[in-house]
């Protein structure tokens, strides 16, 4: 995988080092300092920082504004974009806006249904889906063209990412096929759903490797530390497409309450095992409203200090 954009994340992946990304969730108010604070907490430990886009359909400060803020702080943002809330005019407009501030990474998502969020009675858009968003940004970058046909000179230099969920079973082959479709559309890196079932993830990766897909797209394995047994159960029962094995719930539930957070962090020891899985090119740490734990996790995983690339 060669470097084709100014993205620092792409450069890290191309260097052959394991890449590390993490994410920050914007606040549900106009308090911009929150993102600054979260960005500062993790900046020295990651190669790029995702900013979520109204995750779980809860209205927050927009991803674009937060990404610009991080960029102005000298950090490397990954603009997450969902197709739920904006049509192709708005999506392309935001891509151009992001690129105008030198944002070079995007994560193309369809997004959770609004049913889950704080505005369940709203209309959704879904003019495009995640794969069509990948196609769109690729066309803008490589052909200097909008979906409507308009040609322009200054192109967005985006390193294009998307998500994959090996666990939205039962059919792992279908999930690999869907990822192959994202590769065909032009995706360059993938951040996976949080991994708790290593065997299933390995099965997924084996199918990827068998098809040679791991050479066409960089897979960053998704890691989310569990705060306590309550969170483990919530993730197991309530989060769509997430698989938390009973053994994990038992392990966290098996220690006293005050030690459960520590046990949850210990669980990310699986990073060592994941490093050995063929096709894994890095990690995406999603510490949900627990960003302060990210440095410790990355340090313990042997991924700190981050390599300094010229």
């Amino acid at each position: 995988m060669s470097v084709t954009t100014p993205s620092k994340l792409q450069k890290m992946i191309a260097s052959g080092n394991l890449a590390v990304t993490s994410e920050v969730g914007p606040p549900r108010s106009a308090d911009g300092a929150v993102i600054e604070h979260k960005g500062n907490l993790i900046k020295d430990y990651v190669d790029a920082i995702n900013v979520t886009d109204n995750q779980t359909s809860v209205c927050r400060v927009c991803s674009l504004a937060c990404c610009i803020r991080l960029k102005l702080m000298g950090l490397e943002p990954v603009l997450q974009m969902v197709t739920r809330d904006r049509n192709r005019i708005a999506l392309q407009s935001d891509i151009l806006g992001a690129a105008s501030f030198g944002i070079n990474n995007m994560l193309c998502l369809t997004g959770d249904h609004q049913h889950f969020g704080d505005h369940p009675t709203c209309a959704n858009v879904f003019d495009l889906d995640s794969i069509q968003l990948i196609q769109t940004v690729k066309m803008m970058r490589d052909e200097g063209r909008l979906l409507g046909g308009f040609e322009f000179a200054v192109r967005p230099q985006m390193f294009i990412g998307a998500a994959a969920n090996p666990f939205a079973g039962p059919n792992v082959a279908m999930r690999v096929s869907r990822l192959a479709k994202k590769v065909a559309a032009g995706v360059q890196f993938i951040q996976t759903q949080c991994i708790y079932n290593l065997d299933k993830f390995k099965e997924f990766m084996k199918l990827m490797v068998d098809r040679g897909l791991h050479e066409k797209v960089a897979i960053l394995a998704g890691i989310t530390p569990l705060k306590n047994v309550g969170m483990a159960k919530y993730m197991q029962k309530r989060v769509p497409g997430l698989e938390v094995p009973d053994s994990v719930v038992r392990r966290i539930g098996g220690v006293p309450k005050e030690k459960q957070a520590e046990e949850g962090i210990t669980l990310v020891e699986q990073i060592q095992e994941l490093k050995e899985v063929e096709g894994v090119r890095g990690f995406h740490i999603m510490a949900i409203e627990w960003e302060e734990k990210v440095p410790g996790i990355i340090d313990r995983a042997g991924l700190y200090p981050r390599p300094q690339l010229a």
Binding site: G111, Q135, M174, R178
Partner: protein, 222 residues
């Protein structure tokens, strides 16, 4: 066919409570099939309204009728000599029928008596489910005969999303994931190659996004 459900009685009562002469107009088309607005339902609603007025100690004339189809002028015209006898009409047709009646009888109050829901099928008596959103450009040939626009909660053309779980939709476990159905059917048909080919952004101009739609069939027009 168009599927509808009767409006709650309280809602209809609230619409007509200040009138004394009301016609309940059923439709023999789609709403008869789904038992929401045919002659039978018109009679049931009229009886309920008569009971309401009697209990309220008020004189009222509530009649019922059903037309062959309320989406055609020639059948709506059958009401022309009756309309003057009523203060208001509650139409049990779909939204098309209600509006077409209102267009023809401009000075008459025409209220809807059903909620029009979707284009669907009769799975069983009393169990109807959506199959088509009338987008105006059918893609069923590419998707194994299962429509992702109607069957996927996010109308994805390149599904399934990461939220489907064990073949069920993320918004409700009672809804099968449309894209898992498509994948399985394509597999059965030996057409899985279609699944991995990205589908370009759709032209929605033939859907509601193009504004109110009209079909002009010159070959049929006299």
């Amino acid at each position: 066919m168009i599927k509808a459900v009767p409006k709650p009685l309280e809602e209809v009562l609230d619409l007509v409570k200040d009138f004394t002469k009301v016609l309940i107009a059923g439709c023999d088309g789609c709403v008869t099939v789904c038992e929401a607005g045919g002659l039978k339902e018109a009679k049931v609603l009229a009886s309920a309204l008569r009971l309401y007025f009697t209990q309220a100690g008020r004189q009222a004339q509530i009649d019922e009728i059903s037309l062959t189809r309320q989406c055609e002028k020639e059948y709506l015209a059958q009401l022309s000599d009756k309309m003057d006898a009523y203060d208001a009409v509650v139409s049990l047709a779909c939204g098309c029928g209600v509006q077409y009646m209102a267009e023809m009888y401009n000075n008459k109050i025409i209220y809807p008596g059903v909620d029009t829901c979707f284009l669907g099928v009769n799975e069983e008596r009393g169990l109807y489910s959506e199959r088509c959103q009338a987008c105006g450009r059918c893609i069923l040939a590419e998707t194994g005969g299962i429509c992702p626009i109607a069957r996927c909660s996010k109308r994805m053309l390149n599904g399934p999303c990461g939220g489907s779980d064990a073949g069920r939709c993320e918004i409700n476990k009672d809804i099968p994931c449309g894209w898992e159905l498509i994948y399985e059917r394509l597999k059965t048909l030996g057409q899985l190659d279609r699944f991995e080919k990205p589908v370009d952004p759709k032209d929605w101009t033939t859907s509601r996004d193009g504004g109110p739609r009209k079909i002009v069939r010159e070959d049929l027009r006299i």
